[in-house]
């Protein structure tokens, strides 16, 4: 992966319509905004012209914010792991938004949510329709999946003029037939495809609680030089499971993971806090502000320690 050209951004906050006032009034508290581009347009469906119509109200807000801080795209719509199809028109639309906002990188999830239309047909819908699970579905970690992902990421890199990062997924089941562990799969994917990694530490934390593995064992095997961005967030318990609900402050164990990862990851360009808009009223302005302040302190420490390491090397 070409790391040389990637801009260093610092502390980021995700965009949700509910915290537009916060973003406008307290933009000195963060260095960049992460947006889900898919919510800024409406896809009228394949074969329609124009296929994508823009949400003018939200886009106008985004254009105002872009005057102040950089924006990165964190898509949810590529469904990059779908076996039946890969929608290059969707990729092209991401590319158009990347150019429009001059985003230094963009990312999507290591998962799929679209499946073949035979399911829709079983429900009486036209066989051409795809089914949208609405949740990120885990992929089998085997060579077949790896090959498919590498080809897709090559397409993405050809069509979008910014480095592409893939985010480790949250999952609640182990797929039978995995040929490799999560770290080895991510390392191989990054090496073979040329993408970087969004390391969502809350996802790792969630998975370790739900699936019962040692999070440090996973991180020890992960090639942290691929990590370009780190995601933080909160969740909540639901029975025996812990959910990645983006519902509040980052739990203490995740902050500890952040320190551990930053000590060993040489190429991190940004840390983003993710909160769903519907939980904003519970967390409040002060809660959000405290989170960003702590991220800022961590980021400064990371940069100081990185500078010291460079000095020692020199």
């Amino acid at each position: 992966m070409q790391l040389a050209g990637i801009a260093e951004l610092g502390v980021g906050l995700n965009y949700q319509p509910q915290f537009q006032p916060y973003l406008e009034e307290r933009w000195s508290e963060f260095d960049y905004i992460e947006i889900v581009p898919d919510i800024f347009w409406v896809d009228q469906g394949k074969g329609t012209l124009p296929r994508y119509s823009e949400d003018k109200v939200q886009s106008a807000f985004l254009d105002r914010m872009r005057q102040r801080v950089p924006v990165v795209l964190h898509s949810i719509g590529m469904s990059i792991g779908s076996a039946h199809n890969f929608d290059l028109e969707h990729v092209a639309e991401v590319g158009r938004w990347q150019r429009r906002l001059d985003c230094p990188w963009h990312s999507d999830h290591l998962a799929y949510h679209l499946a073949d239309g035979s399911l829709a047909a079983a429900h009486g819908f036209s066989p051409g329709a795809e089914v949208n699970a609405g949740v990120t579905m885990p992929l089998r970690r085997d060579r077949v999946t790896l090959g498919r992902l590498v080809r897709r990421i090559e397409e993405v890199r050809r069509n979008v003029a910014a480095p592409f990062l893939i985010e480790n997924n949250v999952y609640f089941v182990d797929l039978p037939g995995d040929e490799m562990g999560e770290s080895d799969f991510l390392n191989t994917l990054c090496r073979q495809s040329g993408c970087g990694l969004v390391l969502d530490l809350h996802n790792v934390y969630c998975n370790s609680l739900n699936m019962g593995f040692d999070v440090h064992a996973l991180l020890d095997r992960l090639d942290l030089s691929n990590v370009i961005e780190i995601h933080l967030g909160g969740g909540h318990r639901d029975g025996a499971y812990y959910l990645d609900s983006h519902s509040g402050p980052t739990p203490e164990p995740v902050w500890e993971l952040l320190d551990a990862v930053l000590a060993l990851a040489p190429n991190v360009k940004g840390i983003v806090f993710e909160l769903f808009g519907s939980w904003y009223s519970l967390m409040g302005e002060q809660g959000l502000s405290s989170e960003l302040t702590r991220m800022r302190e961590t980021w400064r420490r990371y940069k100081r320690e990185q500078a010291l390491r460079w000095e020692r090397c020199a």
Binding site: S53, K56, S118, L119, V135, L175, A240
Partner: protein
């Protein structure tokens, strides 16, 4: 194509309760799978994590209705909403990412149910109002004119919508034939005036 069939089967476990139940009971088979994939899908159906995925999926779908049709959902109440949503989902696979698409389809479903006998007081008025709002709030391509919609209420809209917006189930709303015209401004906010 086998991997695509496996993914479709896996998604169906998450999105289709009847299929999940039949798979758990060993009474269903997904088509186009190898023997290994069929075995794997059965194992997934019995995994406790699948229940969590299904819950997240339903939460995602329900949230679309609650956020796009809040007054209709409040009018229906929790129990009736659960019954109607379940019936709606049983016949409509989740084919769209968008909140508005799902909400429009649910509104049309409720309208059909209403015309075929579903009795919920004031549903015709509230549904017509929120269907009009969906139309007004739909993103428009640059250069296209904002639509103007007309909603004919059979009951006093101020009292009816006011009670619902305060979180109340409406009671004793007087009959009052009222036509309202609605349009959306530059910021996408809807405005209403008497026709």
């Amino acid at each position: 194509m086998s991997e695509a069939a496996f993914q479709a089967g896996f998604v169906r476990l998450v999105t289709d309760e009847g299929f999940l139940d039949r798979m758990r009971a060993g009474q269903a088979r997904a088509r186009g799978l190898t023997r290994r994939e069929a075995r794997d899908l059965c194992a997934l159906a019995r995994s406790p994590g699948l229940t969590v995925m299904r819950k997240l999926h339903l939460g995602f779908r329900l949230n679309k209705l609650l956020s796009m049709l809040p007054l209709t959902c409040r009018l229906l109440g929790t129990r009736r909403l659960a019954v109607e949503a379940k019936s709606f989902w049983a016949n409509r696979a989740p084919v769209s990412f968008y909140f508005a698409d799902e909400a429009e389809a649910f509104a049309r479903f409720l309208e059909t149910r209403r015309q075929s006998g579903l009795r919920v007081a004031y549903l015709d008025d509230v549904l017509a109002y929120e269907m009009a709002l969906l139309l007004l709030k739909k993103p428009r391509a640059a250069g296209t004119d904002a639509p103007v919609v007309k909603v004919g209420f059979r009951h006093d809209p101020q009292a009816l919508l006011g009670q619902l917006q305060e979180g109340l189930r409406p009671r004793c709303i007087r009959r009052k034939r009222t036509d309202l015209l609605g349009w959306a401004d530059e910021r996408g906010e809807a405005h209403w005036t008497a026709a």
